[in-house]
Structures are given as structure tokens and as C-alpha cells.
């Protein structure tokens, strides 16, 4: 499977000042967290694949 879907559960509150953020053309910053259902536990390990990051959160 070349395309790797990655769902991200973000337990975060969207507030606070907006610092610099990723733009199209930038390197996708590392996702630091607990990885499940995966042999990899970092974006670095899946470099070379096409990845769809699907952001979600728990309320």
C-alpha cells in the first residue's frame, strides 16, 4: 500500500496565539504523539510514502 492514511486525534483546545504554521510546499512537520495500528511511530519513518493526514479530535 503506497498511500498511507493517518488519522490524528487531537485532544487540543484551539486557542492561543497563532505561531508560524505549515504552508503548502513546506516539509510536513513531525507528529509527536502515541501512534496506534502502525509499525511506524513517526512521519520520518514513513518518508517515501504518500500520506494523507486526517485531523480529528476528541471533545
Amino acid at each position: 500500500m503506497k498511500l498511507l492514511g493517518l488519522a490524528l486525534a487531537l485532544g487540543a483546545v484551539l486557542s492561543g496565539p497563532r505561531a508560524a504554521k505549515v504552508e503548502v510546499g513546506d516539509l510536513a512537520p513531525e507528529i509527536y504523539g502515541e501512534w496506534y495500528l502502525s509499525d511506524a511511530s513517526s512521519l520520518e519513518e514513513v518518508r517515501g510514502r504518500v500520506i494523507l493526514l486526517d485531523f480529528w479530535r476528541t471533545w
Partner: protein, 217 residues
């Protein structure tokens, strides 16, 4: 539940802040080089972008069937040089084996594509990208003649006086990219600014400048 994709649980607001997620659901598409090529609502992921990105991956199709277990294992572990040798060995025994014929074609096509990309980068004076591509060929095709060739070609690039600035800029670029990858945009911005200033005439300098422009720095 049949969830067939990895899930990363992130505490705090680090990921959504860095990725600029303003609402949910939200998605981003990342290509093989690790760059974001699209972001938006997951219902509108552009199919064309996905296919284009997939073409840029250095992955080979798997081989099904017990007889091809060894080759398939090498393909999965991305030891394409060894896989190629194994395929040729199999074809010596049975030259009419269509699965192995197909594998030979796809391995050689990938190698040709990568060599073409490296050579095009040299032509375009994009020596950092050329070195990077040569080193990928070396890694993927270890044990194959192509790996030795790539090593020699990389050496020639390193010795080329015209490549000196470009390579120096590229090395700094790798460092800046790492910093950006870690999510420290401010520090990365400083590194990119230094590259753009010192090496304005290089491809890396241009890329550093593009980062600064994207981020209004």
C-alpha cells in the same frame, strides 16, 4: 472495526497549531519527499494530486504467490538491487515466467526513472538534489551495478568546481529542513534566511527564499 490506517494521538495543541488546523475535519496531503502538497477539507482531497504524488514514490509492486516469497520480501524491505538479482536468477530457470518478467521490467523502470532524475538534476545544476538522488539509488540498489555507478557519479559531482556553492548551500538546507521538520519554524526561518543571503544564486538559496516568501519572513 476494520480501521486499516495508523492513528496518532497527540496531546496538547502542538500538531493543530503547527498544521494550522482551524476546524475539524481537516486534512493534508504529503508527498514522498515529505512535503505538504495540499491541505483542506477531507471531502475534497484532489484525486489528481494523489496520483501525481504516487508516481513520485520509489515503491515497486508486490509479487503474489509462494514461489516469489523471497523476491517479494526483498521488495518489501526495499532491497531492489538484491531483488533484481533474485528475479534474474529465477528467469534463468524459467525465462517464460511472466510474474518475474513483470518484476524485472518494473525494477529496471524505477532505476531508469531515478537515474534520469539524478542526471536531469546535474543538467539543471541542481547538484544537491542530484547527490540526494544518487544516494537513494545507492541505498535501494545495493549489490547492483547501478549502486556503484551512482557512487561514482556522486563523487564526480562533489569534485565539480561548479557545484561547490550549490553543495555547500544544500548541506545547510538539510539542516534547516530538519529544524523545520521538528516544528521550529522560527529557528528554521533564520537558517533559511542565512542560506538565501549567502547563496542567492543557488537552487537551495532559491528554495530557502521560497520558504521565507511563503511565510512572509
Amino acid at each position: 472495526m476494520g480501521i486499516a490506517y495508523p492513528i496518532a494521538k497527540v496531546k496538547g495543541e502542538s500538531a493543530d497549531r503547527i498544521y494550522g488546523v482551524k476546524g475539524f475535519p481537516s486534512a493534508a496531503l504529503v508527498d514522498a519527499s515529505g512535503r505538504v502538497i495540499w491541505s483542506g477539507h477531507p471531502s475534497s482531497v484532489p484525486r489528481g494530486e494523489i496520483e501525481k504524488a504516487l508516481e513520485g514514490t520509489a515503491f515497486l509492486p508486490r509479487l503474489e504467490g509462494k514461489a516469489y516469497k523471497k523476491v517479494d520480501k526483498l521488495i518489501v524491505s526495499r532491497e531492489y538491487g538484491k531483488a533484481h538479482a533474485e528475479v534474474l536468477k529465477g528467469l534463468q530457470k524459467d525465462s517464460a515466467d511472466e510474474t518475474l518478467q513483470g518484476a524485472q521490467v518494473s525494477i529496471e523502470a524505477l532505476l531508469e526513472k531515478m537515474q534520469g532524475a539524478a542526471n536531469a538534476a546535474v543538467e539543471g545544476q541542481d547538484f544537491g538534489v542530484a547527490l540526494d538522488t544518487y544516494s537513494q539509488i545507492e541505498k535501494l540498489f545495493k549489490g547492483h551495478e547501478a549502486a556503484k555507478l551512482a557512487k561514482a557519479d556522486a563523487k564526480a559531482v562533489e569534485k565539480n568546481p561548479a557545484a561547490k556553492d550549490e553543495i555547500a548551500a544544500w548541506k545547510k538546507m538539510v539542516k534547516a529542513d530538519e529544524t523545520q521538520f521538528e516544528g521550529d519554524f522560527e529557528k528554521a526561518g533564520k537558517l533559511y534566511a542565512a542560506i538565501a543571503k549567502k547563496y542567492p544564486e543557488t537552487k537551495s538559496g532559491e528554495r530557502a527564499q521560497a520558504f521565507l516568501s511563503r511565510h512572509h519572513m
